[in-house]
């Protein structure tokens, strides 16, 4: 059994010369070298041959294969370099847009605030959005007949008299619930939605978010409050952030303070955002008022603590340079995709 290897090689080379791209070359490879290709067919004849012929026959098929492989590889290389020379990819074309999900900027900022305090040992507590009038006001030392109540205009639920129900106007009622549910010492963080009947404009919304934090122990000091909040400000707004504590008034803390941070936009030099003062007011705080402890049945001679509260929208607006609170609730995708 023999075959004309010259003829096969000639035919192969002729076809090889016609190949002009990778696809035709691949087709040729399959035709000659493939599993059901011509060379395989010659090989498959080996078992049918007399034993003495097998070696010579096999050897010549192998030689043929080697020769053809050389030609094939040369052609492959030639085509490759030709293709490389001609290659052009317009890489200025845009990449395909990745479909990316996003947390709402308010969620992101709220989470960031919570994580900082959680790392300090504060635990999250979820209070309800519908509160009793007592928890929202009287328990927190805000008598309804007092002007201090003016700062907390509140939506009341209709037809609820005993107890009177309302949409909480701040997260502080969580203090009352958490202090009743858990035993001191404790450190609690209460984030959530709050509501006030403010007409909606660029800086007001009838629904917004607050984060309330408080800790109760036997030796908590005002200086500790300063330490915790100064730490928070540096982590939230950057290493170099300075904090300033100003005396203020909240019915549920005594002494009370308002906390300013050095303006992150002008670094304290004075700009339009900080009204040229170099400071931005970001939160209110103080030592928990004895009245609050009495409301939850704690011994005021034994326990003391501090509390603080901040508006998430305000911090997000400062952080991202947003000047209209309505954008948070308009939910334009072009807005949400930026954060």
């Amino acid at each position: 059994m023999s075959f004309d290897s010259t003829l096969i090689v000639e035919e192969f080379q002729k076809e090889l010369a016609l190949c002009c791209d990778r696809q035709t070359l691949e087709n040729l490879r399959v035709k000659y070298f493939g599993r059901k290709g011509i060379l395989q067919e010659y090989m498959s004849r080996i078992p049918g041959l007399p034993a003495e012929e097998r070696k010579t026959y096999g050897g010549s098929v192998n030689t043929l294969k080697l020769n053809m492989t050389v030609f094939f590889q040369e052609k492959e290389k030639a085509l490759q370099s030709k293709a490389q020379a001609a290659a052009f990819v317009d890489v200025t074309l845009p990449g395909k847009k990745v479909l990316l999900g996003r947390h709402h900027p308010i969620s992101q900022v709220q989470r960031e605030i919570c994580e900082i305090f959680q790392n300090l040992g504060f635990k999250i507590f979820d209070g309800p959005e519908i509160e009793t009038e007592y928890n929202n006001f009287q328990a927190l030392n805000i008598p309804l007949d007092h002007p201090s109540c003016d700062a907390f205009d509140t939506f009341y639920i209709a037809g609820q008299a005993n107890p009177k129900l309302l949409l909480r106007s701040h997260t502080s009622p969580s203090q009352i619930r958490a202090l009743k549910e858990h035993k001191p010492p404790l450190a609690v963080l209460a984030p959530g939605r709050v509501y006030r009947p403010d007409a909606v404009d660029a800086s007001h919304s009838f629904m917004f978010h607050q984060v309330e934090g408080f800790t109760v122990g036997t030796a908590i000091r005002f200086s500790d409050l300063k330490g915790v909040l100064a730490d928070f400000a540096r982590q939230m707004f950057g290493e170099k952030t300075k904090t300033r504590f100003r005396p203020s008034f909240f019915p549920f803390t005594e002494p009370s303070a308002e906390v300013d941070v050095s303006c992150m936009i002008c670094c304290g030099k004075g700009c339009s955002v900080c009204k040229k003062s170099g400071w931005l007011e970001i939160l209110g705080c103080g030592m928990i008022h004895p009245h609050v402890f009495k409301s939850v049945g704690y011994d005021v001679d034994l326990w003391r603590g501090f509390a603080f509260g901040m508006g998430v929208e305000r911090i997000a607006m400062l952080k991202y340079g947003i000047n209209d609170i309505r954008m948070f609730f308009e939910n334009d995708i072009r807005f949400l995709e930026q954060f």
Binding site: L93, K96, L99, L100, G101, R102, H103, H104, I106, S107, G121, F122, K123, F125, D126, E129, I130, D145, H146, P147, S148, F155, Y156, I157, A158, G159, L167, A178, E181, H182, P184, P185, L186, A187, V188, P197, F206, M207, T215, G217, I220, R221, F222, S223, K226, G227, A230, F245, R246, P247, S248, F249, E254, P255, A257, M287, P290, N331, D332, I333
Partner: protein, 693 residues
């Protein structure tokens, strides 16, 4: 409260520059909201907290400045003593017939009432110094009488009211509660019905003024008014506050009375005012009368003694303040301090500090003047309590993450809703829906019982603003059955991102179902079932569904109906899909623990099968049958393609499914699978008259 640098300087020796003073004020609790030059002076706009009505006056601010800058508060430079009062009255020629009587009927509603009669005044322009002073703090000069009362209110914090004395019948003044039948036309022209909760100043016939709130139009001062009765009083703060609310009328006066005026200044301010009217309007002081529980009393004796421990205060504050330091601070602020033992102080607050009642208040006073900035910052040792994170919060966080991973943008919509939102989305308003007693508008007057209207409004807003391709979600509380229920809502519209490469994949019902299946997978909820939801008209007929697990409703989902699109004016032809999941119901059937499951390392034999299936034969029926026939050999049945075309009969669907045969622990051979697969084909044919292609 607006005040100028020069006004403060009149009352206290300040060495600080206007800028330095602004800083000092802020750091002492008189928050300077705005600070600007006016002419050669400086104007401060101070935010006065509700506990400090004494700062609603130039004298109050000056007194504070004296304390915080260690400067001298200039002694009262006008005589305001009883002696002076008597002197003024003595000088006045006693004219019969022009006198008046005070009758105080509500002694707890008005602790002190003083009135002065100034006759023969000439109402006209105020002198320039007075006009300039009022203008400097943004007040418009009116005439010398009104300007005098305004000026003294700003100077003393004591509101004064001037009546046209000739309008008071028989010169008899009553301080009493109003009758429910009475009415009063206020200075602003509004006619108000009164009630027993309103304190009025009246004559024998009718009310003349709502005490501490606003005067009446009838007894108003005009340019031709001749005889004036000036009033200065201490009205009960709570009563004034209730009155303001009832009448819906407020004024600079009521603002101060609500917060409490300094009872010691009541008479002084009146005497000063009478003196000014005498000097500026050529009037004559005929009489000054006072009545009330505090008439002629030393108020200091009435205030409560506060027992204060300096050691406790310094311990709480974290500072070292010595006894003399503390004492000096308190005395500068007007407190009377008596030392008791080594550590204790007995303290009496001045009459203008009704806000100071307990030792914590004293602590703040000391800290404030000492300087909050001098208090060190220390590290707190927090003892975490072992409060577990509520399951609901765990679910919320995991769901939010999951949806974000799936490419969804989180939105935040209002919890308040209105009738319109329900009508436009064809939801029925539950009869027990919670409504607000005092809504801002009807659009936001109810507490939502579903997230879907808000989400649809959000989709509508975006689509109509040109954002066609959307995937949004929200996890928030809804208010139902008297509870707050954590709920997840999500919606999609448009297509999964098309690009210039032209791969466009419009969203379908199976995209929204896919998200629900992703959630079910995440929480390993096996065996959920889908049923048609005919209750919600928000969905296109036949395109709304319930998702149930363990017999509980977990979610609803479907394609938004064309009617809803029209009602919401959504300008797109593309379909919208929404879903709402009860996080609470989900939590009840969810598995939170992840356990490793072995996956096959053996090779699979995959057989594709193209079938023509009658319309009513569902994929679930087919796959269930395959699993029952092929048993342990079958690993997965997947849908590859589903189509209709010319070659498929009208009542049928052409489908291609892919059956994966696999055994977890050994390699299957073709020989083992071929008969199984043949049985599958045969069963499909006999059971469902399925034809193969």
């Amino acid at each position: 409260m607006k005040i100028t640098y020069s006004w403060i300087k009149e009352l206290v020796d300040i060495r600080a520059t206007p800028q330095m003073l602004a800083e000092k004020l802020s750091m002492a609790g008189l928050s300077v909201a705005a600070f600007s030059p006016i002419g050669d002076d400086w104007l401060y706009d101070i935010e006065v907290t509700s506990n400090r009505p004494d700062w609603l006056s130039a004298r109050g601010i000056a007194r504070e400045v004296a304390a915080i800058t260690d400067a001298k508060f200039k002694p009262a430079f006008f005589a305001e003593t009883k002696k002076k009062s008597r002197l003024l009255q003595k000088k006045a020629p006693h004219k019969q017939g022009a006198l008046f009587d005070l009758s105080l009927e509500d002694k707890s509603g008005c602790l002190l009432y003083c009135a002065g009669l100034v006759s023969n005044v000439v109402v006209g322009d105020s002198p320039d110094w007075l006009k300039k002073k009022l203008q400097s703090v943004g007040l418009r000069p009116v005439n010398n009488v009104v300007d005098t009362t305004n000026y003294l209110m700003l100077e003393y914090g004591q509101p004064l009211h001037a009546f046209n004395f000739d309008k008071i019948q028989n010169g008899k003044v009553f301080i009493r509660r109003a009758q429910p039948t009475e009415e009063l036309v206020l200075l602003d022209g509004s006619c108000k019905k009164l009630s027993e909760d309103i304190l009025v100043i009246a004559d024998t016939q009718r009310p003349l003024a709502a005490a501490g709130i606003m005067g009446g139009q009838d007894s108003e001062i005009h340019h031709d008014t001749v005889n004036i009765l000036l009033e200065s009083a201490y009205f009960d703060p709570g009563l004034v506050r209730r009155g303001v609310r009832f009448l819906g009328a407020a004024s600079d006066s009521s603002y101060r009375f609500e917060r409490g005026v300094d009872i010691q200044q009541v008479e002084a301010a009146l005497i000063r005012a009478c003196g000014m009217l005498r000097d500026m309007c050529q009037g004559r002081i005929d009489a000054i009368r006072t009545t009330g529980r505090f008439s002629g009393k030393n108020v200091k004796k009435a205030s409560k003694r506060i027992s204060f421990s300096l050691k406790k205060a310094t311990d709480v504050l974290g500072v070292n303040i010595t006894r003399p330091q503390a004492r000096r601070i308190l005395e500068k602020l007007g407190f009377a301090v008596t030392l008791r033992g080594k550590d204790m102080f007995d303290i009496l607050a001045p009459s203008f500090r009704r806000d100071v009642a307990i030792s914590e208040d004293i602590m703040e006073e000391i800290a404030r003047v000492y300087g909050y900035d001098k208090i060190p910052t220390t590290q707190v040792s927090i003892k975490p309590c072992c409060a577990l994170v509520p399951k609901e919060r765990v679910m919320k966080i995991r769901l939010e993450k999951l949806l974000v991973h799936a490419g969804f943008k989180e939105v935040m919509t209002y919890s308040l809703t209105g009738r319109q939102d329900y009508q436009k989305t064809f939801f029925e308003i539950p009869p027990d829906i919670l409504t607000l007693q005092n809504p801002l508008s009807q659009d936001n007057s109810m507490l939502r019982t579903t997230l879907l209207p808000g989400l649809l409004a959000c989709l509508a807003f975006n689509i109509n603003h040109g954002n066609k391709n959307l995937e949004i979600f929200e996890v928030a509380r809804i208010f139902r059955d008297g509870r707050e229920i954590m709920t997840l809502g999500f919606g999609i519209s448009g297509a999964r991102r098309a690009s210039w490469r032209g791969e466009m994949s419009p969203y379908s019902l199976f995209d929204i179902k896919g998200v629900l299946e992703m959630i079910a997978d995440e929480f390993e909820i096996a065996g959920f079932i889908v049923e048609e939801n005919r209750d919600y008209k928000v969905f296109e007929p036949g395109m709304g569904f319930w998702l149930k697990a363990e017999d509980k409703l977990i979610a609803c989902f479907g394609q938004v109906s064309e009617d809803v699109k029209k009602a919401l004016d959504i300008q797109t032809r593309e379909d919208l899909f929404v879903a709402e999941v009860s996080v609470e119901a989900l939590a009840a059937v969810a598995t939170f623990k992840k356990v490793f499951k072995a996956y096959a390392l053996t090779p699979a034999i995959v057989r594709d099968l193209s079938l023509i299936v009658p319309r009513r034969v569902t994929f679930k029926k087919i796959s269930d049958l395959i699993f029952s026939i092929a048993g342990e050999h079958v690993y997965d049945v997947e849908m590859v393609e589903c189509y209709q075309g010319k070659e498929i009969p009208q009542s049928s669907t052409g489908i291609t499914i892919s059956i994966e045969y696999r055994c977890l622990d050994k390699t299957l051979t073709e020989a083992q699978i071929n008969p199984v697969h043949a049985r599958v084909i045969e069963s499909l044919r006999t059971e469902f008259s399925v034809g193969s292609r």
